[in-house]
């Protein structure tokens, strides 16, 4: 699988994202934000950082980059897209994912390891072994809802997921909540402990924590690999 990792002015996690794609056996290349053509990649990562200095709102300006037009077309054609942290904010601003990310409840930038529960696409219908993110071969199976717990670092100042109640109800009903913070790990005040969501179709996924920083035993957890592997299986 060939991955394209977008790079905006102010991106800072694109190198780790490239590395993570390679760790799970893919090939990966950078795509500059001014490129209107993704060059035939199979999957796209919109990485973390502070695109365009986070001016106005995080992700608000990056969404107008030519490469984002190409990403929207790729997503519309069913191609997998993973947005991490600032990339998640960009995808929300671009309307490719529902909701918005607000300033952390306590106003502080938070950097720590957190437990996430990765939820299958349609828990009621598919069960944990099918669907997109649910196809994990996790070593730490979780309980009742069919989710799996992953230990992944997070680092952000604007990670408080928000959507109005009616939208949240709809997202939950359609299995679009992809990741929740495990109990006691919702550090930013996100509604309903939501750490990441997916598009209705399931091919676009965004989350605030950083799976690309959790792929090497040297840095602790390697649970982040599963996020990339799940997307690779989707492609």
């Amino acid at each position: 699988m060939i991955w394209g990792v977008l790079q905006f002015p102010g991106s800072c996690d694109e190198r780790d994202a490239l590395h993570a794609c390679e760790v799970v056996g893919g090939e990966a290349r950078l795509i500059w934000h001014e490129d209107r053509d993704l060059g035939g990649v199979d999957g796209v990562v919109v990485p973390g950082g502070f695109s365009f200095g986070d001016y106005l709102r995080a992700g608000a300006i990056a969404r107008f980059s030519p490469a984002m037009e190409a990403v929207a077309e790729h997503a519309a054609a069913g191609g997998p897209v993973l947005g991490i942290c600032n990339g998640f904010q960009v995808l929300c601003e671009a309307g490719l994912l529902p909701g918005a990310l607000l300033r952390n409840e306590e106003l502080r930038f938070i950097c720590k390891q957190a437990d996430l529960v990765a939820l299958p696409q349609h828990p009621a219908v598919d069960g944990p072994e099918t669907g997109h993110i649910g196809r994990f071969s996790a070593h730490r199976p979780e309980g009742a809802d069919g989710g799996r717990t992953l230990s992944i670092p997070l680092k952000h100042g604007e990670g408080r997921y928000y959507a109005p109640d009616d939208l949240l109800d709809a997202l939950e009903a359609k299995g679009q909540v992809a990741y929740r913070y495990a109990e006691g790990h919702n550090v930013n005040g996100s509604v309903r402990d939501i750490a990441g969501v997916r598009s209705e179709r399931g091919n676009v996924v965004g989350l605030m924590p950083h799976p690309e920083h959790a792929v090497d035993p040297l840095t602790g957890s390697t649970d982040g690999r599963q996020v990339f592997e799940a997307l690779e299986r989707y492609a």
Partner: protein, 74 residues
């Protein structure tokens, strides 16, 4: 060119931690009896076509899911 000011504020009902932080600091400075502080953003601009300002706000200056905006001609 038409001058305008756009005021952007968090939607009613959305937790605004900045406003809360300001509010909490006030009593220590001797300002009593101030509540419901909301912190937003103000953008001043000059537009050739003031008709399109609403669209501009919807698409870029504000995120309609979380923010309200108000355009004031100057």
């Amino acid at each position: 060119m038409a001058k305008a000011r756009v005021l952007i504020r968090p939607k009613e009902g959305i937790l605004d931690p900045q406003g809360k932080a300001v509010e909490r600091a006030l009593p220590a400075l001797g300002f009593e009896g101030i509540g419901h502080v909301r912190v937003g953003r103000m953008v001043e601009l000059e537009a050739e076509d003031a008709e399109r300002l609403g669209e501009l706000c919807e698409k870029l200056l504000a995120n309609p899911l979380i923010e309200d905006y108000e355009i004031q001609p100057l």
